[in-house]
Each structure stands twice: as structure tokens, then as C-alpha cells.
């Protein structure tokens, strides 16, 4: 699978590491060069200093050849905008974005985006643990 990840924070870097280790083609984008320090030394994918809310940045990441796009910056709006560009303008088959705000996640789902709200997921996990 050819995957583009936007945002090289803890989650982005870890996802990139996992996919790369399994032999997938990974391109990870961030606008802060020091964020790439989180990638492991043997990372075999591509790290690009680009913004994914910018068409040109996405083109440099060869988005037209991507099978999946994942947006995990710390800002909901950036994730939502990049995900919509990937899905609506470049027709990437699978697009997932992180949306912290549960109300906004609901809204983006109504627009056809696949969102994950860490707020909701983590609260649910905690509750399950407590009930065990």
C-alpha cells in the first residue's frame, strides 16, 4: 500500500514506523523539520517538508498514486481541510483524519470523511477499563 501521512507528531511518526516496517510505501509530511527526528533511524520511507493543505505540497508527495491518506496534525481544521483535498480533488481511495472535537467529527462524517476522535475513543477505552 502507498500511504501519505500528514503530521509527524507522535502518532504520525509511530504509524509511519509501523507501516514502513511492514513493507508499505510511506511518505510523511510536516511543516516543521525537527518533527522528523521522531522517525526511527532505519525509516525507509520519504519525509517531506511540505504542507498538505497546499495542492503543490500534495503533488510533491505524489498524491495521485496514493492508496491512502491519513491526516494527524494537532489541528482539527488542518486535518479536515487536507483530508477533503485528498478525497475530493485527488480522489484518494481511503482517507482518514483525526478530529479531536467530537461534534466536529460528526459533522465531517456527514460530509463523507472518515474521522477518528481520540477524545471519544480514549474516553470509551477508559470506561471499559473501569468496568472490568
Amino acid at each position: 500500500m502507498n500511504v501519505i501521512i500528514m503530521g509527524c507528531g507522535r502518532v504520525g511518526a509511530e504509524l509511519a514506523r509501523l507501516l514502513d516496517a511492514e513493507g508499505h510505501k510511506v511518505t510523511i509530511l510536516d511543516t516543521d523539520a525537527s518533527s522528523f527526528d521522531k522517525l526511527p533511524p532505519d525509516f525507509g520511507g520519504t519525509a517531506l517538508l511540505e504542507s498538505a493543505t497546499d495542492e503543490e505540497g500534495l503533488q510533491k508527495a505524489n498524491i495521485t498514486e496514493a492508496d491512502a491518506f491519513v491526516a494527524v496534525t494537532r489541528e482539527d481544521d488542518k486535518n479536515a481541510m487536507a483530508a477533503q483535498i485528498a478525497k475530493r480533488i485527488f480522489d484518494v481511495p481511503r482517507v482518514i483524519c483525526r478530529i479531536y472535537d467530537p461534534l466536529r467529527e460528526e459533522f465531517y462524517e456527514s460530509l463523507g470523511l472518515e474521522g477518528i476522535s481520540p477524545t471519544v475513543v480514549f474516553a470509551r477505552l477508559l470506561k471499559e477499563k473501569l468496568e472490568k
Binding site: T53, D77, K78, A80, D101, L103, R104, F107
Partner: protein, 226 residues
Amino acid sequence: MYGMIIGGGGVGYYLAKELLDNGHEVLIIEKDAKRCERVEDELGSISLCGDGCEVAVLTKAGIARADMFIAVTDEDDDNLAACQIAKQKFNVPQVIAKINNPKNERIFAKLGIENTVDGVALVLEHIKAQISTFPLIHLLSLEDKGLEIVLIRIAEGSRVAGKSVGDLCLPLSSVVSIMIRQGQECQVPASDTILEAGDQLVCLIPGGSEGAVQAMLGTSGQEESG
């Protein structure tokens, strides 16, 4: 009418002022507490400190009864998110976004936000209008008609100086509507009016043909070297 403004920076502040002066009800939603304070000090209690992209904040601010929603922050992704929520979730009748990256106009339109104002392009055009050597100034886009209204300046040495209006090779369906000649009243030129250096023409041209018009106006010197 009730107008909600997202972003209390320079544009948001002066827009709020204008809307208030025109008798509208206005609310500015701004993340930065200092900016909110400034708005409150100058314009009264018309600000809400919060994130204008959050559904909960917008609901609390009464978006359900808003007539206008205008997002003017410096971040395009924030303006897009706020406008999409206003338009697609709350059906606000009039939704306008400021765009900071000119390339985003097309993306916004594709994602459902057609009413955009490109701040950078506007400032650029105003600066170009003040610099007399620019031969073509963009005045207005009639987007639904696919037309642009432009100001053409005939420069000294332009290859069209000395030619008649009818001999201008403007793109098909262009109209030369007004001629401004120094020391004279504005006039509607006839096709045999001879153009002089220093003349200015207000023209209607098809969208996207600005480059071709600019090339047509070039100085004869450029033509020889080219």
C-alpha cells in the same frame, strides 16, 4: 440582520464596525483574549472569546438565527472549517470566507464555499494600480458570467499607440467600454478612435485572458527583441 464574524484581527474589527454603523447586529468570535478585549473596548460587548470552528461555540453564539457568516482569520483551514459548518450544518444564508493563499480559491469552491475574497490578490491589484508602469489592472470579476473588468493603460512605446480601437486584437467577446484621456471627459470610444500613449481603457474581457491582453499591449521594443 445578524452577522457573525470569525476572527477579530484588522479585517474582522473594521468589518464589524461597518456592519454596526449600518444598523446590523454583530458578533465577533475570536480565540485571542487580547483581541477580544480590544474589540470590547472600542465597539462594546460584541465579542465572544472562543474557537469559531467549534460547533458548540457557534451554537452558543446563536448561529441558528444568523443571516451572514464571514470568516476572516489568517488561517485558510480555519476559515474553510468555520464556513463549511455555517453553510452545511446550520444553513446560514450568506457565507463568505477570506482566503490568504490565492491558490485556495479553487479548492474552497470545490469544497462548497464559493463566496471567497482573496485578500492578497486585492492588495496586489491595488499596489499595481498605484504603480503607473503596470499596463493591466484587474478591477472586478463577474464570475457567474466568466468575465473580467480590467483597466488597460496604453504606455509610451506600446505597440497599440497610434492604432485605432477597432484594430486592438482583444480576445473574442471583449468590449471596450470607456476611454479616459488626460485633460478630457471620460468618453465611449468609437472603433475609429485613435489611441494615444497615456490613454486608459476600461474593458470587459473573458476570464483567464489577462495574459493574452497584456502581451498584445507590449511595447514595440519588446516585440523586436522577442
